[in-house]
Amino acid sequence: MSETLLKVEGVETYYGNIRALGGVDVEVKKGEIVSLIGANGAGKSTLMMTICGAPQARSGSIIFDGTDITRMPTHLIARMRIAQSPEGRRIFGRMTVLENLQMGAGLDNLKYFKEDVERIFEMFPRLKERQSQRGGTLSGGEQQMLSIGRALMARPKLLLLDEPSLGLAPLIVKGIFEAIKKLNQEEGLTVFLVEQNAFAALKLSDRAYVMVNGKVTMTGSGRELLANPEVRAAYLEGGHH
């Protein structure tokens, strides 16, 4: 098996006195697509943010590429090439699409800006059409594409995606998942994603984790979890409220 890129061990995260993560263990190997599924409020986004150091874990450790990043400030973690398309997208509303992408390419001082932008525009032609429109005036789905595109501009070693399918039409979701798969297969990009769309996520993933109330309760290959009756009952069949 290939080597570990991200190792989360016994991580506990608190918001004030409220414990959102209660000892989480997660491992992501180089070149894998790993997904994290779970109910609302389970702590999925909290885990994503904790990996990025905002908020920091109170205990446990997060090792990325052999370096302990548990206590590192967020911007230094980002410079280790962990890029995130966060929950709520967080794009820069007053800046144009192109400027948003430029912000993503800041780590390399825009060295690869032109070629990377072309790549993103190929993946999301919609963004190309809208390149000089302000981010804040994009549609929800377009903003999601921009958020993912901006994360990719950083040439990440690990891409964190928090609900990439949120607010997107099924056809676009399919496109995005295909794009992720392609990046993974052709460029070996490692992806760790949170999804409510459990079926699509499990099908796409090499492995997956199920999170309940701030703890990982189940793990296995995508196919195993898809076949697991508990998972089916909780996240696949009954999942459409």
Partner: protein, 461 residues
């Protein structure tokens, strides 16, 4: 009021009728509102008994202004606004082909500024030019520079700073004190003042790193007051409220502007006049302004400038893109403060006298108002706002004729805040994003396209 009537298309006749009705109504309202405030005045005589006398004339003027104003508003201004709005809605989003003049307006403005002093001198003579070069030229340019400096903090980085005048004070006192205690020259102290102000910018930056919005504004406000109170109370060094006087003037490559044999006038065989120094100061502040603008424009295209603008929108997103928000904020505070410091030392050299009175909160408010009116982030808009606001204040001083209306005690410049308020209200109604609300993007693949603010709702205006 009865503005809902506006929705039905009014013919010319009914419009005037409606206007008269509203004007009468406004007049009555004004009469009611001001009857006691303006209509009567109380005083004490020698034996401390109050005496009341009426001021029907003044009251009548107020009522007339309000009524006529409402009439004009209804008949002319409102239809105009409505037409404008409709025209705007009807116009398809089109790339406006800028005319030659529009494209080069900044170059024209610069040339006009460079030729301003000689033209004024040829029109009014050296003595007559003083007022125009000093009050209308230098005074306005100081505010342009201050507003451009504050723009870095507020307009670009989005950090609301209500104490900007503190850095102006630091710059002014740095020059005033270091030159009188150590005899250092203006040209040595100009950069030192800037550096000291930048240092104080950092000092302010550290405690407010975690603050945003309202909280940040309050701390910066307090900071401005602290600096002023220190200047007042540290009497051993600053001479307190008396201020520091006879501050040396700036020199032109070592040539002083005085009556001495090697002074400017004697050297060039010119008759003695204080106008040379003013004209020299005019060009000096013009150059300082241009440096400020140049640095701002360059910084916006550099990583730190982009980081400022991103910081203004989403701090967490910034960090997760690898931006160090701590240094980003500190650089915004210190670079903004530095320009305030430059302007301050210039101010001290120009006045020859500084006292804490020049650095009250009102100054911060005025500078901030100029930045907001100009359209946060836009250098051109801010310059226009500074000209309108500062020039307007100076114009008020000139309006001696108003004394004929309001009596000999009327001092027009006391109403400058009224003018400010009025201008703000008018501008915010007509252009809610300031004079220049569109933001020039800094990234392009092929051609340039300005993104107009008028099509968008979001924003923090």
């Amino acid at each position: 009021m009865a503005n809902t009537v506006l929705d039905t298309p009014a013919t010319e006749g009914s419009l005037v009728g409606k206007a008269i009705k509203e004007a009468l109504f406004t007049g009555v309202m004004t009469l009611g509102l001001f009857l006691l405030y303006i209509g009567f005045r109380t005083d004490q005589d020698i034996s401390n008994t109050p005496i009341v006398y009426g001021r029907p004339g003044l009251l009548a003027i107020f009522v007339a202004i309000a009524a006529v104003g409402r009439f004009l508003m209804v008949v002319f201004v409102q239809p105009l606004l409505k037409a404008r709005k409709e025209a705007k809605a009807a116009a398809v989003v089109q790339d406006r082909e800028a005319t030659f003049f529009k494209k080069h307006i900044l170059k024209f403005a610069l040339v006009a500024l460079i030729f301003y002093p000689p033209v004024i001198v040829s029109l009014y003579g050296f003595q007559g030019s003083l007022k125009f070069v000093d009050n209308f030229g230098i005074q306005i340019l100081i505010y342009v520079m201050l507003a451009w400096g504050l723009n870095i903090v507020v307009g670009l980085a989005g950090l609301l700073d209500l104490g900007y005048v503190a850095f102006y004070a630091v710059g002014a006192y740095s020059y005033a004190l270091l030159s009188s205690y150590y005899g250092l020259s203006f040209w040595v102290l100009l950069p030192i003042s800037g550096i000291l102000a930048a240092f104080w910018g950092m000092i302010l930056g550290f405690p407010v790193l975690r603050l945003r919005g309202d909280y940040l504004a309050i701390v910066t406000l307090a900071f401005g007051e602290i600096i002023r109170l220190v200047l007042i109370n540290w009497t051993d060094v600053t001479k307190g409220t008396f201020g520091v006087s006879s501050i040396p003037k700036a020199t032109l490559f070592g040539i002083p502007f005085d009556a001495s044999p090697n002074g400017f006038a004697k050297m060039f065989g010119l008759p003695m006049s204080s106008a040379y120094y003013k004209i020299f100061l005019f060009y000096l502040i013009l150059v300082l302004c241009l440096i400020t603008a140049y640095v701002t424009i360059r910084l916006r295209r550099m990583p730190v400038g982009r980081a400022w603008e991103a910081l203004r929108e989403d701090e967490i997103a910034c960090r997760s893109l690898g931006i160090n928000t701590v240094t980003t904020k500190l650089t915004a505070f210190s670079i903004g403060a530095m320009f305030g410091g430059f302007a301050g030392s210039f101010f001290a050299a120009r006045q020859g006298f500084v006292s804490p009175e020049s650095f009250v909160f009102m100054e911060s408010a005025v500078i901030l108002a100029i930045v907001v009116l100009g359209g946060m982030g836009s250098l051109t808009g801010i310059a226009v706002a500074a000209i309108v606001m500062t020039g307007g204040t100076e114009l008020l001083r000139e309006m001696e004729f108003l004394k004929h209306f309001f009596g000999p005690d009327f001092t027009p410049e006391l109403y400058r805040m009224l003018l400010f308020g009025l201008a703000m209200v008018v501008v915010m109604i007509l252009k809610p994003r300031g004079f220049v609300g569109s933001r020039e993007p800094s990234a392009f693949l092929r051609e340039k396209k300005a993104v107009s603010g008028s099509f968008t709702k979001e924003g923090h205006g």
